[in-house]
Amino acid sequence: MSELNNENAVLIIGGGHSGVSAALEITEAVDKKVYIVEKKSYIGGRVLQMYKYFPKLCPPFCGFEINTKRIKSSAEGNINFLVSSSVEEITKAKEGSGYKVKIKQKPQYINDNCTVCGECAKVCPEERPNDFNYGMDNTKAIFMPAISSFPLKYSVDDKYCKFSACKKCEEACRYSAINLDAKENIIELTVSDIIFATGWKPYEVEKLENLGYGKYKNVITNVKMERLAAENGPTGGKILRPSDGKEVKNVAFIQCAGSRNENHLPYCSAICCMASLKQAMYLREKNPESSPVIFYIDLRTPGRYENFLNKAQSDEKIKFNKGIVGKISEDRETGDLLLDVEDMLSGKKNKVRAEMVVLAAGMASNIKDDLKEIKIDEEIKIDIDENGFIFNDNFKEGIFSAGVARFPLDVYMSGQSATSAALSVIQHNAKL
């Protein structure tokens, strides 16, 4: 058990765009140590899985790269990353205010000697579904988690690796970067503040039984669409449908899949309209003959985002249908999908054929599930609202939220919420 220097540190749970931004804002402003606890083996979270950001349509590197640069120029030891780690226990610290936190770090099988040469993966006989691509392809059990992983090194999936029964990778590595006998690590810290930047997951759209996700191969989610469009995705950037690998032209986007639905997520997920407009543009950019249709209740593109909507609407090949799809069935011969939907502006009900359907899955907060795995003192009050967000920060207790842990927002606003959380931390620690 290692005791780290932890005086006055801040704990940030979640190393996505919001968590990292909050860490940078704090350390750049004041002399305070920050620990970022990240479940995955790399930081960056969901934004790295995007093909492009809206509204500028630049790749995620252009946004997140700034953060990694800032990390590099920060003073040594101010920002500490605990990847492959999870918080086990939070208790009140005895002396004064603050919390004692117990963190479990999974065994670090790969050390910093790794040069990302890839020889290990070549000899690895085991495969695993690639969660970075939402399971649409496989990687070896020793793998590079993401093209822009930070820290830049390979990972081992302990669910699929056979360890001592195989060890081929250890032999193949010329840099002694692999140690399959590594043990897990327990880290104990005392922190003054906690920022929850636990982020989101796409809503489980299979629960919307009428839309057939999970039943029909060519019904996918918006997050999968990002991976299909990305050059480093499972199809090398070609938008091919799952059933037969055909390049699709006629794609239906269905908005509010789970969101704004009292049987599912009662709130608006805030990003899906922009995301679908953006994805319709991916299609148009990659295939001039493509013709996406967006089925919507109303299009929510607030403020300057309206320009983005105008841009999409000026492309006459992008069609819009006011009216949400009630039912999807499959044409078994072709794998196409048939959508039952009312076109409200004409008042007619239609059966629309589509080669692929993209469901605009809403954002579900991770925090409720995450908290179930943490043992927390009863006297510590974390105010989670009925939708699973920490909307009201507990300023007196030094418990804050950033990013989608607070409420559904886009990358740009996540940055703002991170700055806000950082400012709260600084104010909370000010000596009056």
């Binding site: 704004r260 209740i297 006011k322 009216g323 949400i324 009630g326 009312e342 409200m344 007619k348 009900k349």
Partner: protein, 387 residues
């Protein structure tokens, strides 16, 4: 865009809220309901448009709308509604509104708004029957009289059955004419050729006797036998059984009352059709629907208005007292026992006929098939003028 001025009516919104439990004001017009509806057609999808029409109180459009009658409350809309706005229940409320809109007397509206008004109305009719009976047959049978002397079938026909039949016929005909005026004649966009009224008449008869639209509620690709086996037609068949039983008994009693007051005329037909089939149909059917309304498991039985309860209860009591009466005659009970059971039976039956048939829920027996007929007429006429 044409500059149509839409008149809205706040009182109507309040009325629709009062006669059902729909949260139609929560609707955000996503169109899921119309898209999932197994009964609405391509050209005339519902209930999304009814949701906004009700939300805005668009009285003129709602009164002219036949679609509430084409809805059989399958419940797909309510099940899938993201706002839990209960579109299926709104269509139910609109049927209640339409019943009161076709009724020029204003009685329906009163009965739908106030359950006490309904209780009082039923009580008045029951007491009226008691009074009429006392005047015609006295308050107890004469000593030694046979049944036909104590309660003469001819007198029952002259003073009870035929007047009520005439009353119902006049009321319903005038209401249906009113409906025709508001839904068909008011629609200036279609002109219906006379021949269509004849050629489309089959749809009226077919829908009256089969209520086939119930079967269409389940639009899955399963075979009909599989649907039957898995109970998907149960509601439809129970409803049909109840309705056929009711209609056959009503017609037989009005025209052949003699059959019921003696024990041996046309025995086989009578015993099989009325003593068994129709009695079982009425009692089984009413109990089935009462259980459904208590258990609230399916969408269409989730909410019950006081008129729903009153209707099914009166029908059940009518059936039970009717079966008792018939049993008393067949098993030769004393004339005085039969005399009183007969009186009680009529005191339940008549309120049901006078109040429920023209002014309340029972009127759907007429409006539903007529609406299908009118809708067919309009659609066919439109197709003719387009070609």
């Amino acid at each position: 865009m044409n500059n149509t001025v839409i008149k809205t009516d706040n009182e109507l919104i309040k009325y629709i809220k009062e006669v059902g439990e729909s949260n139609f004001k929560k609707c955000f017009q996503c169109g899921t309901c119309s898209a999932v509806c197994p009964l609405s057609t391509e050209d005339r999808p519902f209930p999304r448009k009814e949701m906004i029409m009700a939300g805005w109180g668009m009285k003129e459009q709602l009164t002219a709308d036949l679609d509430p009658w084409l809805c059989y409350y399958c419940g797909e809309c309510s099940k899938n509604c993201p706002r839990k706005a209960e579109p299926g229940e709104l269509m139910m409320s609109l049927r209640r509104f339409l019943i009161s809109a076709y009724d020029w007397t204003g009685i329906s509206k009163l009965l739908y708004v106030s359950k006490y008004a309904e209780y009082i109305a039923i009580l008045i009719v029951a007491l009226g029957v008691l009074l009429e009976w006392a005047v015609i047959f006295g308050l107890h049978p004469a000593a030694g009289a046979t049944l036909s002397q104590a309660v003469s079938p001819d007198k029952v026909d002259y003073f009870f059955d035929w007047p009520i039949s005439a009353f119902l016929a006049i009321m319903l005909t005038s209401f249906i004419y009113n409906m025709y005026r508001k839904t068909v004649l008011s629609d200036k966009s279609v002109k219906i050729p006379l021949s269509l009224y004849v050629t489309e008449a089959w749809s009226l008869i077919f829908n009256f006797f089969t209520q086939y639209r119930y079967a269409k509620c389940d639009d899955s690709e399963e075979s009909a036998t599989k649907k039957l086996a898995s109970g998907k037609y149960n509601f439809w068949l129970a409803h049909l059984f109840l309705m056929i039983s009711y209609v056959s008994l009503f017609v037989a009693i009005v025209f052949f009352l003699d059959w019921f007051q003696s024990e041996n005329s046309m025995p086989i037909l009578h015993i099989v059709l009325f003593d068994y089939f129709a009695s079982i149909g009425l009692i089984f059917g009413t109990i089935y629907f009462i259980i459904k309304r208590f258990s609230k498991k399916i969408e269409r039985s989730k909410f019950s208005h006081h008129t729903d309860w009153m209707f099914v209860t009166l029908l059940f009591l009518t059936a039970v007292s009717g079966v008792l009466l018939r049993a008393a005659i067949v098993y030769n009970y004393s004339v005085s026992a039969i005399f009183y059971i007969y009186l009680i039976h009529l005191m339940i039956l008549f309120p049901m006929l006078v109040i429920e048939v023209p002014f309340s829920k029972w009127s759907h027996l007429a409006y539903r098939p007529v609406a299908v007929y009118f809708a067919n007429l309009k659609e066919k006429a439109k197709n003719l003028s387009n070609n």
